[in-house]
């Protein structure tokens, strides 16, 4: 590890009223794999996206090799030697592999306006070979390759031009074990060549094993940097979460029995290419957790219960025998669903808070099919206030709210519906700690009222903290089940996930 290559000075960024990054200053050295960790909403992704030109900086600056870094987009960042492998899909459909690798930087293959496709393909093939990805055909359409191969192509795309700094943002969560091995291999190679890697991941074991130093962000602020060889998972968690909150964050009861009354019965549910033969029961007043890696299929289970899956086979039945096969049926029979894809599925962002809260209950709010505006406003106001949504009024569009408040509106609509079975998928993702605590408190309240909750989450801590039972899924099938217990640890769960 060598001298400092990158300095961040007082970086700040806000989105509307949400302060995503607050006055963060950090240093990174040459030849280092520097881990960056923090809970969801801690600001890590926003921080690196400013470095890479995806977002603009509100105030503060980055100094690369002593010079201030001014980049307006990813290609400019690349030119300065900074690149990023993003969390979501970073390649474009409809283009070939070679075109994707060189997107934005084709000029070296262009003479007099003509693109030398053959040369481009040849160079792409050479690079793919060099990286050990020879099984990928440079001239083929990228749509032929599945997500993991497309991520491998992204690795080539982000590093072939020898950038000085490579940011890897939560890439490993989406990769299989093989894919991860490939990634680690290249990470080490890049570090040994004297370059720097900023590695973001939720998997603390992986972070401790493969990084040299680890920095922690919490709620948008910089907390501390520790040496990986000295770090322990517990200490990292403490830094991430902050000790005062951890104890009263989740439920504190253990050993309370759950009623034996089944409210929902899932038998042999399968969705092609997603889940296979899922069967379980949900009991009254229970909080049932689902955990696993991103692609294990648990998110599809949530959809399947709600009647939102396509081509689902098997049965989802209520205690009274009603079969749940469609969303309207699910809602009518008191099932609620808060999707992981909040902005697209849980809530209509370009619509008012009122409309969002009343929609699932709209049939009941009508007297002889007629809706009265006053009644609707009352209804919306009541539930928005119940959960303390920070808003200027129910007419306000949801798009103007912060992530935490959006999620509160989502929950408000289902509480307004008084649903008995509530499926929550990643309910606290990207939400700041205070609102998280509110949501956990809400879940406990609902449980006390006899409602049943299914919580699907990629955050092992919250599963351990909140659930009566945890079902672990792997590769589309159920791979383990755990009962609530103080002695239950992350390792126990992870063992069944990978």
């Amino acid at each position: 590890m060598g001298e400092t290559i990158l300095v961040a000075e007082n970086i700040c960024k806000s989105f509307g009223i949400t302060k995503a990054v607050r006055d963060v200053s950090m240093t990174f050295a040459r030849g280092e794999i520097h881990g960056l960790i923090g809970e969801n909403g801690s600001g890590k992704s926003t921080f690196v996206s400013m470095l890479c030109g995806i977002h603009s900086i509100d105030s503060g600056r980055f100094l690369l090799n002593g010079e201030e870094l001014h980049v307006k987009n990813q290609v400019e960042a690349n030119d300065k030697g900074v690149s990023i492998i993003v969390q979501e899909m970073g390649t474009l459909s409809g283009l070939t592999v070679a075109e994707n690798i060189f997107l934005g930087r084709e000029d070296r293959f262009v003479k007099y306006g003509i693109k030398n496709t053959t040369a481009m393909n040849r160079e792409a093939a050479r690079l793919l070979d060099k990286y050990g990805f020879g099984h990928i055909d440079a001239a083929a359409m990228i749509d032929h390759y599945h997500f993991e191969d497309r991520k491998l192509i992204e690795i080539v795309k982000a590093t072939y031009f020898d950038p000085q700094i490579v940011v890897i943002d939560e890439t490993t969560t989406a990769l299989s074990q093989n894919g991860r091995e490939e990634l680690y291999k290249h990470m080490k190679r890049i570090r040994d060549e004297g370059k720097t890697i900023i590695f973001i991941s939720h998997d603390l074991t992986e972070v401790i094993e493969f990084t040299d130093n680890i920095s922690v962000l919490r709620d948008g602020s910089y907390i501390d940097t520790v040496k990986s060889s000295d770090a322990s998972e517990d200490e990292l968690k403490r830094l991430m979460v902050g000790r005062e909150i951890a104890s009263k964050y989740y439920r504190t009861d253990y050993g309370e029995p759950v009623s034996g009354e089944t409210v929902l019965s899932v038998q042999g549910v399968s969705v092609p290419e997603r889940i296979n033969g899922i069967s379980f029961e949900l009991y009254k007043g229970e909080i049932l957790g689902f955990g696993g890696l991103s692609e294990c299929g648990m998110h599809e289970v949530g959809k399947a219960i709600f009647g939102a899956s396509y081509d689902r086979t098997g049965s989802v039945t209520l205690a009274d025998g009603t079969k749940i096969d469609s969303i309207p049926t699910a809602i009518r029979h008191s099932i609620a669903y808060a999707s992981k894809d909040r902005d697209n599925e849980s809530i209509i962002i370009y619509d008012s808070i009122r409309d969002n809260i009343i929609l699932p209950s709209i049939n009941d709010l009508a007297e002889k099919r007629i809706l009265r505006k006053k009644k609707l406003n009352e209804f919306a106001n009541r539930y928005a206030k119940l959960i303390s949504v920070k808003m200027t009024g129910v007419d306000q569009f949801v798009s103007n709210l912060s992530g935490g408040n959006k999620q509160k509106v989502v929950l408000a609509r289902w509480i307004g519906r008084d649903s008995d079975i509530i499926v929550l998928d990643s309910p606290t993702r990207g939400i700041d700690v205070k609102v998280k605590a509110d949501i956990y408190a809400l879940m406990s309240e609902l449980k006390a009222k006899g409602k049943s909750i299914i919580m699907i989450s990629e955050e092992i801590q919250e599963l351990l903290g909140m659930c009566d039972r945890i079902i672990i899924m792997k590769n589309g099938v159920i791979n383990g089940e755990f009962k609530r217990d103080e002695r239950l640890s992350e390792e126990d769960l992870i063992a069944k996930m990978v």
């Binding site: 030109g53 995806i54 987009n73 990813q74 290609v75 400019e76 970073g90 474009l92 459909s93 409809g94 283009l95 075109e99 997107l103 934005g104 084709e106 262009v110 306006g113 003509i114 693109k115 030398n116 496709t117 001239a139 083929a140 359409m141 032929h144 396509y310 081509d311």
Partner: protein
């Protein structure tokens, strides 16, 4: 592997994919030709007549090629028809003084200028392309009217080289080769697809999205300028009409574009557009040969296009289509 799976695997191979796509199109063409030949063997389908069907279709194929750049990016343009009229009139007017160069350069330059105008207004005003081109269509119709003084503009008989073989075929072929070349061998070809695929990511990759959208409009209308030359040479005259009369000219080229889009995955959009328009032309003329009134044409166009799009559109499950 079952036959179905094997076929799918093969389809991914570039060369086979192309072959498969073209064969499918040719089969369709032969099929429709055969249907009408059987129904009315005397009125339809002689070699000479079929050649004629082809010639009348390539005018629209050229327009379809231009349209393709725009539609791939997710944009639309209602002013194509107005462009054909305006560019044709400019071309004819200039041809009176400058002969063939006047006709060609006048029409194409006019087209390019319209394209630039559309592109810049679209980019500056930030109005959806569908809406802004409705307004522009109204305006261009009037400009054409003023330019021609409301009178019919006739092309001198000595200048009608592009109205029949081989002139029209040569010009059209140049247009097709140009489209193919641009799509495959220039940056704009790649960027058109990139912008259409995910505009936000493309922008992040440093692609100047606005610049390439404007370029797309310029290309579109440049090709429409060529289409105007072919059109006016074929019909020997052009009259400017207002009242949104040019709307009807927008849609026949659009049909070819849909063929191109549908067969894009086989890697042969240009060929698909050419053969596609040819198929439509066969169907038209088939009905006419059957003695159906010319009004039937529109019924056929509408039904054929609807069926083709219905069969070839395959959006992902749960995708939102407006």
């Amino acid at each position: 592997m079952s036959i179905g799976k094997r076929l799918n695997e093969l389809k991914k191979n570039e060369l086979f994919g192309r072959f498969y796509g073209i064969m499918l199109l040719l089969l369709l063409a032969v099929f429709f030709w055969a249907v009408f030949k059987i129904l009315t063997p005397d009125n339809f389908g002689t070699l000479e007549k079929t050649y004629y069907y082809l010639q009348s279709s390539i005018i629209y194929s050229v327009g379809a090629c231009g349209f393709y750049f725009i539609v791939v990016m997710g944009l639309f343009d209602f002013s194509i028809g107005a462009n054909v009229v305006l560019s044709a009139i400019i071309g004819v007017t200039l041809s009176k003084q400058f002969g063939y160069p006047g006709l060609l350069i006048g029409a194409v330059l006019c087209g390019l200028a319209i394209g630039l105008c559309n592109g810049v207004i679209y980019a500056k005003l930030r109005i959806p392309s569908m809406i802004v081109t409705v307004g522009l269509m109204l305006i261009f119709e009037c400009v054409a009217y003023f330019a021609s003084g409301g009178e019919k503009q006739s092309l001198d008989p000595s200048l009608q080289f592009f109205g029949h073989a081989p002139g029209n075929m040569i010009l059209a072929l140049i247009a097709f080769l140009l489209t193919f070349f641009i799509l495959k061998y220039t940056k704009i070809g790649t960027y058109c697809y990139a912008i259409g695929s995910d505009e936000y990511v493309a922008k992040n990759m440093g692609i100047n999205v606005n610049k390439y959208k404007i370029l797309g409009f310029v290309l579109l209308h440049g090709f429409v300028g060529i289409m105007a030359v072919l059109s006016v040479s074929f019909g020997t005259s052009m009259t400017a009409l207002t009242g949104m009369a040019t709307m009807s000219r927008n849609f026949t080229p659009l049909m070819g574009t849909f063929f191109g889009l549908a067969f894009r995955k086989y890697g042969t959009p240009v060929t698909a557009m050419v053969i596609g328009e040819f198929i439509i032309s066969i169907i038209f003329n088939g009905f006419i040969a059957l003695g159906a009134p010319t009004t039937i044409q529109n019924v056929v166009t509408g039904a054929a296009l609807l069926l083709i799009v219905a069969i070839t559109t395959k959006p992902a499950k749960g995708a939102v289509v407006k």
